[in-house]
Amino acid sequence: MMERTHRVRRRVAAAVSAVALVLPLTACDALTPGSAAAAPGPASVPSSTAVPDEDITLKLQFADAPLMVDALIAAFEKKHPRIGVEPQYKTFSDYVQNLKLTMTSDSAPDIAQYAVGMTDLAADGHILDLAPYREAYGWDDAIPPVSLDQLTAGQTSEATGGRALFGVPAGLSMTGIYYNKELARKAGIDGPPTTVAQFEEQLAAAKEADLTPLGVGALDSGGLHLWAALLNQTMPTDDYWDWVNGTRGATIETPAAVTAGELVIDWGRKGYYNESANGTAQVDSTAQFAKGDSVFLINGNWAAGQLATVMGENVGFFPMPGEQAADPTVASGFSVSYAVASRTEHPEAAGLFLDFLTSPEAGQIISDNGFLPPNPDAVKKPAGVLADIADGHRRAVADDGITTFPDFAAPAMLDRLRSGVQKLVADRIDPADYLDSLQDEWEEHHAE
């Protein structure tokens, strides 16, 4: 009897203490996730340029091209000795995964590299709208409009009434096809193709010559570049932009997108890819191509420096050609761009640094580091494969044909794209089902 009341009492005590623990959790409003995340600091930037005259240190967090950033900072500090910039490098995946926590924390950097999650951060006021600076500094003249359009996060500017601007590009990227000139000659290929059909003939010729036609690293994001490159040719650019920007009613489930998926499957069936495309990471496919394992390689300009060093004159580059020879040049690309946190105490100094990125001096540093400067006219013409890329990029910009990467359509899109393209490469999914899975994700994210 004693024993039993004891046990009951203990159980009651346990239950009471459990409730006592959980109750404050549920009752306290402050614990509601996100309730403490309101950003202090300015909501916008001044509408005039200013050089602050005090000693300032800006924190810059970034994920791409540390050598380039170091060189840019050194040049900037030389020009403005009273403003220091402290670089904080993170690897790309670390950077993207922690972006939201970083930018909403009290220790947010002043300047941060623009990445996928920035759209949400901009919508919630954690990133400064730079539109007033766009006028004041004249960035529209220094930067091609297509590069700035990628940085509006689909919003209008409260400060100017026009388009918002959430970053300034320093170094642009573009995807396309590299080719091994020596192997291409061996297969009887005499130059870059002018249509997709001609490219297919070249792939077939390479296969015929007992070579691996196209290197694809689909274990990570490399497969996505192949599909997107084909999609860029089949789908009207405006429709694609609508989809990536989340415009109401936009869809990826179009016959044009099905055609792109069918091409990926078809090329796989014909054995055009390296045998283990799905088991090869993008960097590994690049290394294999550099060794001469395939005639063509799908990748972006970020690989150009490495390939130029290893292969010298033996490597060339062309953007994926269109269906007709007269079609505009369209390629996926984005910029290594920098945004300013709303929590910064030095919006003037940050603006000054961003403006420096658009200068010819910065352009030369960017070009020397293998990236495309936002304003190519301001720099010396590069040589070799870098010249091929600069040329392709110039054509794409002139044709208004630089489209962002498809994973910008929704935060979860990258995972759907990656696993979906792997299935296309392995011929294990119907293109329509693949597009359906993308559209589901899109609708879930953009449903309002």
């Binding site: 995340a37 939201k100 090869t280």
Partner: protein, 299 residues
């Protein structure tokens, strides 16, 4: 807390039965602050739809509903159960076999042997994953070995092959956990009274008989520990999968741990991730409870 419980004889030197708790308190406080509270907070977050930045919306059990309807998630749980075979069952069998072979004799060089098998335990799993990615690569050691012995038809991109990827990932786990199981069992064997082996040998028992009749029954406790540790490793697996395949090709190697990470950090669905983490935690607790229950009822 009463200074003297009422049912204790007056003048007795027995201490309060609650006194022990005082000693446990510091450890409990730390544990509570860094394990229990975060777990409760996770459970609380699972009731919200939250992107990690803006104000969360209360959705009650909606996230749980979503989880049970998700086909990718169901496949990921199945994948994790397949991994249990490779992370738990195979290493335990291998560990037992090695114990049977090693426990009977004292040979020089045993220390080095144990060290070698323990090595995978010491290396961070991320490094293990990177290494195995190379081994499984196109021109990696695995394919080279098959080619060297004339089995060219077997070679493939192990981590990129829809049929082979999950098994390939599982075998990495086997490699990592076999040594741990062996060490556990070897230390268990050392508790066995040597006279038992002597007696068994005098009775004419061969190595197999000796293993089954003497070694195995004494390893029941170690077996339970090994099963618990390896099963949890399989169900909560993340690092090896993340580094080697990131869930691919397709969803062939996607496991719940990977989905929790993706949902929370790259997809901005923190509430859903928390709900999945809670479900995964409950599943693991249930299975661990079952293992302990079974191993206890056998003794």
């Amino acid at each position: 807390m009463p200074s003297r419980p009422p049912n204790q004889p007056a003048g007795g030197r027995r201490r309060s039965p609650y006194r022990g708790y005082v000693y446990v308190l510091p450890a409990f406080a730390v544990y509570f602050a860094f394990a229990v509270l975060p777990a409760l907070h996770t459970a609380y977050l699972s009731l919200f739809e939250w992107d990690g930045v803006t104000l969360g919306d209360w959705v009650g059990l909606g996230n749980y509903q979503e989880i049970f309807q998700d086909s990718v998630l169901r496949q990921s749980v199945l994948n994790a159960l397949v991994l249990v075979v490779f992370f738990s069952f195979v290493p335990i069998v291998l560990g037992l076999a090695m114990t049977g072979l090693l426990a009977r004799f004292r040979r020089p060089g045993m220390g080095a042997y144990r060290f070698l098998f323990m090595l995978p335990q010491v290396v961070p799993l991320v490094a293990v994953g990177v290494t195995w990615r190379w081994l499984y690569g196109d021109d990696g050691l695995v394919n080279q070995t098959f080619r060297a012995v004339g089995l060219d038809g077997v070679t493939r991109a192990w981590l990129g092959d829809f049929g082979a990827a999950l098994i390939a990932v599982g075998l990495v786990g086997t490699w990592v956990l076999s040594g741990l199981c062996m060490m556990l069992f070897l230390s268990g064997v050392q508790k066995v009274d040597p006279s038992l082996y002597e007696a068994a040998r005098l009775d004419g028992a061969g190595p197999v008989r000796e293993f089954v009749s003497v070694t195995l029954p004494h390893l029941r406790g170690e077996l339970a520990v090994a099963m618990t540790v390896t099963t949890v490793a399989a169900l909560a697996s993340f690092d090896i999968v993340y580094v080697t395949t990131n869930g691919g090709p397709g969803e062939q190697t996607t496991v719940p741990g990977l989905l929790v990470y993706r949902l929370a950090f790259s997809e901005g669905k923190v509430g859903l991730a928390a709900a999945l983490a809670v479900v995964l935690g409950c599943l693991i607790l249930a299975i661990v409870y079952l293992i302990n229950r079974l191993s206890r009822s056998e003794t």
